[in-house]
C-alpha cells in the first residue's frame, strides 16, 4: 500500500489539480484565524473548512488517473477495490498535511485568545482527522465509476457537507463545532463523535465501492 500511495501521490502532484483546493484551504484557515476566539473554536472552524476541501481533494485524487491508466494500475495491484482504497488513503494522508497547516497556523501566528494546552492541540488534531475521514468517504462518491458527472458530484458533496454542518449534533463537523463551545470540552464526547463517524465512514465507503464494482 505504501508503493501505491507513493505512485498516486506522484501522479496527483504532477497534475497540479491539488493547487486550487490547497489555496481555498489556506484562505479558509487564514480567515478563521483573523479575530479568532479560543484555540478550540479556531480548530473547530478550520475542521469545517477541511470538510469541504477534503471532499474536493478526494475527488481530485480518485479521478487523477485516466481510466486506461487506472485499469493497468488496478491489475498491477491485484484488483480495483485495492486501487480505490489506495486512492482514499492517499486523499486522507493529503488531508493530514492540511491538518498540520491548520494546527500550526494559530500557534505560530498567536491568533487565539486564552491559553493553549497540549490537550487543545491533540483534540484539534483528532477533530481534523475525523472530519477528513468523513470528507474522504463523501468524496469517494465522486469516483468516476460512481458519479461520472461533475455536476451531480458537486450537488451531492455540497448537500452532504451543508447537512453535516447545519443538522444539530450531526457527526463529525457539527458535533465538533458544538463541543468546541463547551468550556473544558470533553474527550469522551469527542471519542463518541469519532466512533459515530467511523461507522458512517465505513458505511459510505462500503456503498461507494460496491456501486463502483457493480458498474465495472
Amino acid at each position: 500500500m505504501v508503493a501505491l500511495v507513493r505512485y498516486l501521490a506522484a501522479d496527483v502532484a504532477r497534475s497540479q489539480r491539488w493547487v486550487a483546493p490547497l489555496l481555498v484551504f489556506v484562505a479558509g484557515v487564514a480567515i478563521f484565524n483573523m479575530g479568532a476566539g479560543s484555540l478550540r473554536t479556531t480548530y473547530a472552524d478550520t475542521a469545517t473548512v477541511l470538510l469541504a476541501v477534503g471532499i474536493w481533494l478526494t475527488v481530485v485524487v480518485a479521478n487523477s488517473e485516466d481510466p486506461v491508466q487506472a485499469a493497468v494500475t488496478a491489475v498491477t495491484v491485484g484488483g480495483d477495490a485495492r486501487l480505490r482504497l489506495g486512492k482514499l488513503l492517499t486523499a486522507w494522508i493529503a488531508c493530514g498535511l492540511l491538518t498540520a497547516v491548520a494546527l500550526l497556523w494559530p500557534l505560530v501566528a498567536h491568533s487565539y485568545t486564552g491559553r493553549a494546552t497540549a490537550g487543545d492541540v491533540l483534540s484539534g488534531a483528532v477533530g481534523h482527522l475525523v472530519v477528513a475521514a468523513f470528507a474522504v468517504a463523501v468524496g469517494s462518491f465522486g469516483m468516476r465509476a460512481v458519479l461520472p458527472r461533475a455536476g451531480w458530484t458537486v450537488l451531492f458533496a455540497v448537500a452532504v457537507a451543508l447537512a453535516d454542518v447545519l443538522v444539530p449534533h450531526a457527526p463529525p463537523a457539527r458535533r465538533i463545532l458544538e463541543l468546541s463551545d463547551r468550556p473544558g470540552g470533553s474527550a469522551a464526547a469527542l471519542a463518541g463523535a469519532a466512533a459515530a463517524t467511523a461507522v458512517l465512514v465505513a458505511a459510505l465507503v462500503a456503498i461507494s465501492l460496491a456501486v463502483a464494482r457493480r458498474r465495472a
Binding site: Y7, D66, Q69, A71, V75
Partner: protein
Amino acid sequence: MPAPTASPEGGAAVEAVHKRYGRRGPWVLRGVDLVVSPGSVTQVSGGNGSGKSTLLRVVAGLTRPTAGRVRDLPASVGYAPERLPARLRMTARAYVTHMARLRGDGPGAALALLERLELAPGADVAVASLSKGNSQKVALAQALAAPAGLLLLDEPTSDLDPRARKILRKLVVERRAARAAVLVTTHVPIVGLGPDASLELRDGRLHPAAAEAGAPTVRIELVGRGDGRRKVLEVPGDESDAVLAAALAEGWSVRSVTRQ
C-alpha cells in the same frame, strides 16, 4: 458473481461468461469458455467491436461479467492496453518503476525491457509526449516485467514498427518459456507468433480460427529480405490480405501464395 479464485500456477479459466453493458445493452459476449494455460500463447482475433477488449478486461478482473465467472487467476497479472493515455504525465522511467514497485519488485527488469524494445527518445521523456508506438512500448514493458503468471496483451502490435514487432515476438516467446500464460487479442493475426491456440471472437462467441475449422486456407511462403530465412504460413482465406500486408511491412518477401 463469485470473486475470482487465485491459483499459484498461473493461467486462467473463463467459464460461460456473458457480458452486456447496462440492462438493455446488446450482448457483447454470449457464453465464452476459455482456458489459458501456463506456458502457452492464446491468440484471440476479431473485427472492430467484436468484444476482444471486453474479454481481456473480464479476464483481468476489470469488468464484471453479467453471467459466468473467471477462476484460477494467478497472483501476478500483467496487462498491456493498446496504448497508454496521452495525459500520463510521468516519464517512462518513473512510470515503469512505479508499476514494478507496486508488484514489490525493483525497476531493473522493466527498464531493461524499455531498452530491448528500443524506446526511441529514451526513458526520461514524459509518456504524454511519446508517439503512439513508443507509448505502446512503455505499456508492454510494464506488463512484460511482471513475474510469470498471466500476461494480457491488447492489440500489442497495432502501433509498433516492424523491428519492434520482431522484438515483441521474441519477448512473448520468452515469457511463454518462463511458464507465463499469454492471452493476446489482435485485429490481425500476428505473423510468426506461433500461438498454441488461435481463436476468433465472432457474434460474442469464441470459434476456432477459420484455418482450424476446415474453411478455405491460404498457404503463404515467405523469404526474409536480406537474411534469406524461409517461413511458411497457413492462414484463413479471409485474413490472407492482412497477413500479407503485415509480412511485407515486417521485412519479408512473398515467394508464393497458394489457395488450399
